[in-house]
């Protein structure tokens, strides 16, 4: 093959939107029309999907393991909640403040987290989240402690759409934020920065030898992931007008990890699909005894680790690969 005939299109086309993706983003509209009585649940799904997306950025792309990602979710939730409870009820201002607060926390803690091995990272992230939980638990004057933060009053979105009783505004608000941030994350992972994150995950030892400042890159994505998680937390605080202490809990971090593994990490869509599957299953199954739910959740986690490590997206990829191979008759 010569330089003149070389086909660059596989690289150039990598960031194009696939028709299946466009169809995927019609799902929120379809869900709105089909389940108009379940908007609260659908809003929760959008928020959790955003939260999971933030974990995918740091774990799926950069390979930073975390058992305490709820720290940023909860920090953002409290930041937005406190802002609104103290008279500044503009939703977008709340998102901005939460994003900045969580990003700052992420930036500072990134230096602690990035020092160690995977095992140290797991324990440091866990420790940081537990510390925040204890702080929120004890600062009852500020956070309401175990009773939760109340008195959150939101002003209308963009000055026009007030948060209604049916949750319509909340739903479209959460979906719009999710889509915008998904779009931004999608740009990010297809950029040179995103490529270098994949490089770090695949072979961290090689990266300095091609001149990449590994820690600076990891610090940056950790901060961005924290900001995303903070915005997700803020959305929860704003749409439910309440912040419960469990936004910071270990269970939330662990569950998030499960959702990402279930959906498949490192594809962005895996995070969203995993959330949809998980939350729907939760909704359907928790009508049964809630203890059963936790049991099957645990069993599922064990099975996924043992047998289906690449999750739903991995299966989709394998299937489409097989189909594509048959079509082209090669590979």
């Amino acid at each position: 093959m010569s330089l003149a005939t070389f086909d660059l299109s596989p690289l150039r086309r990598a960031d194009r939107w696939h028709p299946a993706e466009l169809a995927f983003w019609l799902l929120p509209v379809a869900a709105y029309l089909v389940f108009p009585d379940n908007l609260v649940l659908l809003t929760q799904i959008a928020i959790t999907a955003l939260f999971c997306l933030s974990l995918d950025l740091i774990l799926g792309y950069a390979g930073i393991v975390s058992l305490g990602h709820a720290a940023f979710f909860g920090f953002g939730a409290y930041a937005a909640g406190l802002l609104a409870a103290n008279g500044i009820g503009d939703p977008l201002a709340g998102l901005a403040v939460a994003a900045l607060a969580s990003a700052a926390l992420g930036f500072v803690t990134s230096f602690l987290v990035l020092r160690g091995s995977d095992l140290t990272r797991l324990m440091v992230t866990l420790g940081i989240a537990m510390m925040l939980y204890e702080v929120a638990n004890k600062l009852t004057d500020l956070t309401g402690g175990v009773d939760g933060l109340q008195g959150i009053e939101m002003t209308p979105l963009l000055g026009r759409f007030s948060f209604d009783l049916y949750g319509k505004t909340a739903y479209w608000y959460a979906v719009a934020v999710l889509f915008l941030l998904f779009w931004a994350a999608r740009r990010l992972v297809h950029s040179p920065f995103g490529l270098s994150l994949k490089g770090i995950r695949l072979n961290v030892a090689r990266m300095p030898a091609i001149g990449a400042p590994v820690n600076a890159r990891l610090s940056a994505i950790y901060t961005i992931g924290a900001a995303y998680a903070g915005i997700a937390g803020a959305l929860l605080a704003q749409t439910t007008q309440f912040v419960a202490l469990d936004v910071l809990s270990f269970n939330r971090s662990a569950e998030l990890m499960l959702i990402l593994v279930l959906g498949g990490s490192g594809s962005l869509y895996g995070a969203v699909i995993g959330t949809i599957v998980f939350m729907s299953a939760h909704h359907v199954l928790s009508d049964m005894n809630p203890e059963y739910w936790q049991f099957w959740l645990g069993a599922l986690l064990v099975l996924v680790v043992l047998f289906a490590r690449d999750g739903v997206m991995g299966s989709v990829r394998r299937l489409s690969h097989a189909a594509g191979g048959r079509r082209k008759g090669e590979r």
Binding site: R187, G199, I210, A212
Partner: protein, 250 residues
């Protein structure tokens, strides 16, 4: 004399074991310099000290007149020092073009751009394509690294280093694990590099070394035994003594 890379009394201890012992090395600009020595002589450790992969216990590393002893790996790379690894360290799930483009991105300083897609950074992509062309890797450019044979992967290892447009290139047994026919080709591409690139080569195959190098240093037990032109080294009785065993084996 103009030196590309120097060390001053460089030493490295692991616990009680001295892997590098008081090495003062001078590599002239534009040299084809080979570093030889029996197994366990500390050649790779020395490379790791030069690149900043390891921190020395004592001594200094000087790159083109600048003391870089305290600089990290990526900072030395920015100053023109690139290396290949004895055992491939590649990005298994990336395509060949993606890997090399990523390396070029870093050299051009666009590795942290997070908005425009990789393919829209034309300068980096074009340069990566040209580099793959020069190493005759274009036909596998869109294949994932893991799908290639070891010999081809070895070339990617070198492509990644060349993407740094190095002033000084450290090659740690580049032909290790490559079939003889392919290793000849590989050395042709190395020999074809511009003369102003300084090369330090670690290699076991003495045929290759004496064909390729214009300066040779011999490392034994972590210390520099001797150095000189290939003719001087070939007739040095001390070197013969060290290599007698290996020469028979080979």
């Amino acid at each position: 004399m103009d030196y590309a890379l120097q060390t001053r009394n460089l030493a490295k201890n692991f616990g009680g074991f001295t892997a590098t012992n008081n090495v003062s090395l001078n590599i002239e600009a534009g040299a084809r310099h080979a570093l030889i020595g029996p197994n366990g002589a500390g050649k790779t450790t020395l490379i790791n000290l030069l690149t900043g992969f390891l921190e020395p216990t004592a001594g200094r590393v000087i790159l083109q007149g600048e003391d870089v002893t305290r600089l990290g790996q990526h900072q030395r790379v920015k100053r023109g020092l690139a290396r290949t690894f004895q055992i491939n360290r590649l990005f298994a799930d990336l395509t060949v073009l993606e890997s090399v483009t990523m390396a070029v991105n870093e050299r051009l300083g666009v590795g942290a751009r997070f908005w425009k897609p990789v393919g829209a950074h034309h300068q980096a992509v074009d340069e990566a394509v040209a580099l793959l062309d020069s190493l005759r890797l274009l036909d596998v450019a869109h294949a994932t690294t893991r799908s290639l044979a070891y010999g081809k992967q070895r070339l990617i290892e070198i492509a990644l280093a060349l993407a740094m447009k190095p002033r000084v290139l450290l090659l740690d047994e580049p032909a290790a694990g490559v079939p003889t026919t392919e290793s000849r080709e590989l050395f042709e591409s190395i020999a074809a590099l511009p003369r102003d690139v300084t090369i330090l080569l670690i290699e076991h195959d003495m045929d290759l070394v004496f064909r390729f190098a214009d300066r040779i240093s011999v490392l034994v037990g972590g210390a520099l035994l001797t150095h000189g032109t290939p003719e001087v080294i070939a007739s040095d009785p001390k070197v013969r003594e060290v290599y007698l065993g290996e020469a028979i084996c080979a």
